[in-house]
């Protein structure tokens, strides 16, 4: 039986028939590139694998009314936005020696929707630091790791950070109350912080007592009416949920909507790309094949192609198409943020189901390159647990409690209503052996070989975890917690911060893309997503991903003068 699609499959200018550029992926990176090229006058076709949950996204003068809702079942259980592991599974193994695979299912899955992976995010938008772009030099050779300098530095990206912060609308602290370790900013955040969550305030007090420096987390959520979007009402359904009010500055309602309104962009949703078709000489891509929403195979052509499908999916597509891989490095150096979670149980209720999921953090545990007394960890998010169904399943399936004790746990709610949490988003050392490739037997519902993740942690990040966990427990004690629990290291990683696989660098033998994001092997293909990252840093990646994608797009639109495309600084 066939059903009508959620919304029409073509957005933007549906009369366009010839295109200068095809952008694969409509998320954080693709939207930044599409907007930049469209404003510069190019005709752009955006192909998005997922459906459109923003009806009216291309209507001028009014914001769309999203189909997201305060519905944990739909968003967190039933994969409304998330890649559904039943029809798009991935496989995992810790090493080649472990065999073809040891797990099949959700491996770092990200949303499949118009607006991309960032739809699920609570939009934490810190910048990377100056030193994060120089870790190859600052750390020197580390056995088993492949740290490298970025081919672009903080000073070059700074105005691109400003551009994104103002386009999407970041709320954040002023200079006086900012993170003392924050990098230099040429322009303040466009909005002040919104309300802090009670659970965050209590933990921040504990952190201060231990000598650390908490601050209001920079977040792309409107705390004031901003460019046609409303201020957040703190509905509480933030991390993992699409925003029901458009207060989140998600790519769909900011850069992508801007792009669609230029009339130079056409977006086709439900378009699952199956292959990049090489030219006769093999030095360019001449066409993109995809399966449309009705299941028919289609072909699109343009002068150039930008890959922005996320680190895992972009590498998978390059491997499926056998392009860009003369170095053998496509898929290599896959990184997640190495997440350490330490949670406290208080005696009082702190209602973590109200607010923006994370409103404060501190970066004292980011550390200093090369200083053994301050190993490189990452920013600490002060967090909560907002999800009731998730809490209940945790007691029943992880702790194995059913019957009267389960009911009493839910009534007294130690792991939700009385829970405070710290999540460290730590640097994950790049390793050539941590990689994405094609599973030899597993496929998705479209018949494409599934992505297989081979990943094992390096002592670089596990030793940082061991260093900082006792300090995190001490903060909990200072915050008045009755219990402190340390979440185990998960394998496969549950991190949604996915980076590497299409590393950018000057050397075609050790990197896939050149310093401006163009594939070394191909004359007309660029990458503009987290795949480019040579290192992961210890800060949430999306702001930097967008700044970098904007920089890639600017170098296509204005070669030699990329800052000429900037509008906000």
């Amino acid at each position: 039986m066939a059903f009508p699609s959620v919304t029409p499959n073509v957005l933007g200018n549906d009369s366009l028939a010839a295109f200068d550029t095809i952008v694969i992926g409509s998320g954080a990176g693709g939207s930044a590139v599409a907007r930049t090229l469209a404003v510069a006058g190019q005709k752009v076709l955006v192909l998005e694998a997922g459906p459109n949950y923003f009806p009216g996204l291309d209507v001028p003068d009014a914001m769309p009314v999203p189909l997201f809702s305060n519905d944990e079942l739909k968003l967190q259980v039933r994969s409304f936005i998330q890649q559904d592991p039943l029809i798009e599974p991935r496989s995992f193994r810790a090493s080649v020696a472990a065999g073809a695979r040891t797990f099949v299912g959700d491996v770092n899955g990200l949303p499949r929707t118009v607006g991309g992976a960032a739809v699920h995010a609570d939009m934490k938008y810190p910048r990377f630091r100056e030193t994060d772009f120089k870790l190859g030099t600052l750390l020197g050779a580390i056995p088993g790791a492949s740290f490298a300098d970025w081919p672009v530095d903080y000073a070059t990206l700074e105005r691109f950070y400003v551009e994104i912060e103002h386009k999407v609308g970041v709320q954040g602290p002023d200079a006086a109350s900012d993170d003392p370790f924050a990098p230099a900013k040429s322009k303040p955040y466009p909005m002040p912080p919104g309300l802090p969550m009670l659970a965050n305030t209590l933990l921040a007090d504990g952190a201060r007592k231990q000598g650390y420096h908490p601050f209001a987390y920079p977040t792309a959520v409107a705390s004031r009416p901003y460019r046609g979007r409303p201020a957040c009402v703190e509905c509480g359904f933030c991390s993992g949920y699409g925003c029901p009010t458009n207060a989140k500055g998600a790519p769909a309602v900011t850069l992508l909507r801007d792009a669609l309104l230029t009339k130079n962009v056409q977006l086709r949703s439900g378009a699952v790309v199956t292959r990049l078709v090489k030219s006769a000489t093999g030095t360019a891509v001449r066409a993109v094949e995809y399966i449309d929403a009705a299941g028919a195979t289609q072909t699109a052509t343009a002068d150039r192609v930008v890959l922005a499908a996320s680190a895992v999916e972009t590498a998978r597509l390059a491997l499926l198409s056998e392009v860009g891989n003369s170095s053998g490095q496509v898929g290599a150096n896959l990184m997640f943020h190495f997440q350490t979670q330490v949670v406290g149980v208080l005696r009082d209720r702190v209602h973590g189901h109200r607010g923006r999921s994370v409103t404060m953090g501190f970066s004292d545990f980011r550390g200093t390159p090369g200083d053994p007394d301050h190993p490189l960890g990452g920013i600490i998010e002060l967090a909560t647990n907002a999800d009731l169904i998730g809490e209940a399943k945790n007691y029943a399936l992880q702790l194995g409690k059913t019957g009267p004790l389960l009911t009493r746990l839910l009534e007294q709610s130690p792991l939700r209503d009385k829970l405070v949490a710290m999540i460290m988003q730590a640097e994950d050392a790049p390793q050539v052996t941590n990689r994405v490739d094609l599973d030899p037997a597993l496929t998705d519902v479209y018949g494409r070989p599934a992505a297989r993740v081979t990943y094992a942690s390096h002592v670089f990040e596990t030793s940082a975890r061991e260093f900082y966990v006792p300090k995190m427990l001490a903060i909990l004690e200072s915050a008045g917690a009755q219990f402190g629990l340390v979440a185990p290291i998960d394998a496969p990683s549950a991190s949604r911060h996915v980076m590497g696989t299409m590393r950018m660098g000057p050397d075609a033998a050790t990197s896939v893309c050149d310093p401006r994001g163009q594939l070394h092997d191909l004359g007309n293909v660029w990458c503009a997503d987290g795949g480019l990252f040579p290192t992961s840093s210890g800060f949430n990646p999306t702001l930097t991903l967008q700044a970098l994608a904007l920089w890639v797009g600017a170098n296509i639109a204005a070669p030699g003068n990329p800052t000429s495309v900037l509008e906000e600084s």
């Binding site: 039986m1 066939a2 059903f3 009508p4 959620v6 459906p51 009806p55 009216g56 209507v59 009014a62 999203p66 189909l67 809702s69 305060n70 519905d71 079942l73 739909k74 259980v77 798009e88 599974p89 099949v104 919104g194 309300l195 969550m197 009670l198 705390s223 009402v233 509905c235 509480g236 359904f237 029901p244 009010t245 439900g270 299941g295 149980v345 005696r347 009082d348 209720r349 209602h351 189901h353 109200r354 809490e391 209940a392 399936l397 702790l399 019957g403 004790l405 009911t407 009493r408 839910l410 007294q412 209503d417 009385k418 998705d444 018949g447 427990l473 219990f483 629990l485 340390v486 979440a487």
Partner: protein, 296 residues
């Protein structure tokens, strides 16, 4: 869908609210306490099993009170009454339920309620339809759903898991006591029978736990959480759009917490009971076992 939404958006929330009153919760089948998929015996058996997972305690609310069985039945029947106007009941609409009003400029509740979007289910994409048919009917019975069966083995659908489990629960009961069914057993024997079948068919045991808890705590549009029993049990606010928990008040250029359900301060009437000794024991074991601590 698209046309209606653009129309509503152009009208704005205030005008759309002229269509009040909206029904609380949802209409038709989700609210009726009758089976769409199960037969009467299966319904009663699954109802009793959910109450073993989550029985009544301090607040007197069990999974049966929340009608978890109705949620499970509606899930298994999600594709049974499908038409272009009535998509499968997998994804409830958005952004609002119609249970919460819009705030005024200072964060106070108004009498303007948005449409009950959640009462209208959303169409599935082609791939989503395959995924949900595989879950409910199994991979072998779903066209296009068996693409990994050669590698992973077939996926047994939830319909078969539940109907087979009811048969098996009765067989275990009859073996315990001639002529008995699961429903005629006493609570202790029911517990043993459920544990037996759940360990024999672990997929059923896991599905029953997951579905019971989803049915107790979901938004009521999916057929569970009757009279918000689950949310009362957990003292949980539920969906809050469009009211939210705080509002930016332009007249004072600052955020204002909702007095009864604040974000940044303790709730005015929050009850923070001490943990039961069994919960203290469980938390101590979990904390110490994880490498953490009991601080006091």
């Amino acid at each position: 869908m698209y046309t209606r939404r653009v129309f509503l958006r152009l009208l704005g929330v205030a005008s759309a609210a002229a269509a009040l009153p909206f029904p609380v919760g949802c209409g038709d089948n989700a609210d009726a306490d009758v089976p769409l998929f199960f037969d009467a015996h299966q319904w009663a058996t699954v109802d009793a099993a959910t109450a073993l997972i989550l029985p009544a305690a301090e607040r007197g609310i069990s999974a049966s009170d929340a009608r978890a069985v109705r949620y499970i039945d509606r899930l298994l029947a999600a594709f049974d009454q499908v038409s272009e106007a009535a998509p499968p009941t997998i994804f409830a609409g958005g952004p609002a339920s119609g249970r919460q009003p819009a705030p005024d400029a200072h964060g106070k509740s108004t009498s303007a309620f948005p449409p009950a979007d959640m009462a209208t289910f959303l169409p599935l994409t082609r791939a989503q339809e395959i995924a949900w048919r595989v879950r409910i009917f199994g991979s072998a019975a779903t066209p296009g759903g068996d693409f990994n069966d050669a590698l992973l083995g077939p996926t047994v659908g939830w319909r078969d898991l539940y109907t087979d489990a009811v048969t098996r629960l009765d067989a275990v009961a009859a073996a315990t006591s001639p002529g008995a069914t699961f429903l005629t057993l006493g609570p202790a024997d029911q517990q043993i029978a459920l544990a037996t079948v759940s360990s024999e068919v672990s997929q059923f045991g896991q599905a029953l736990i997951e579905h019971t808890l989803e049915g107790v705590f979901c938004v009521p549009e999916y057929g569970g959480n009757a009279d918000r029993a689950g949310w009362r049990l957990a003292r949980y606010d539920g969906d809050s759009i469009p009211l939210g928990h705080a509002v930016y008040d332009a007249s004072i250029d600052a955020y204002v917490d909702r007095p009864e359900e604040p974000t940044s301060t303790p709730s005015p009437h929050a009850i923070s009971e001490d943990f039961d000794s069994a919960i203290l024991d469980a938390l101590t074991v979990a904390a110490v076992g994880s490498g953490g601590k009991k601080f006091f």
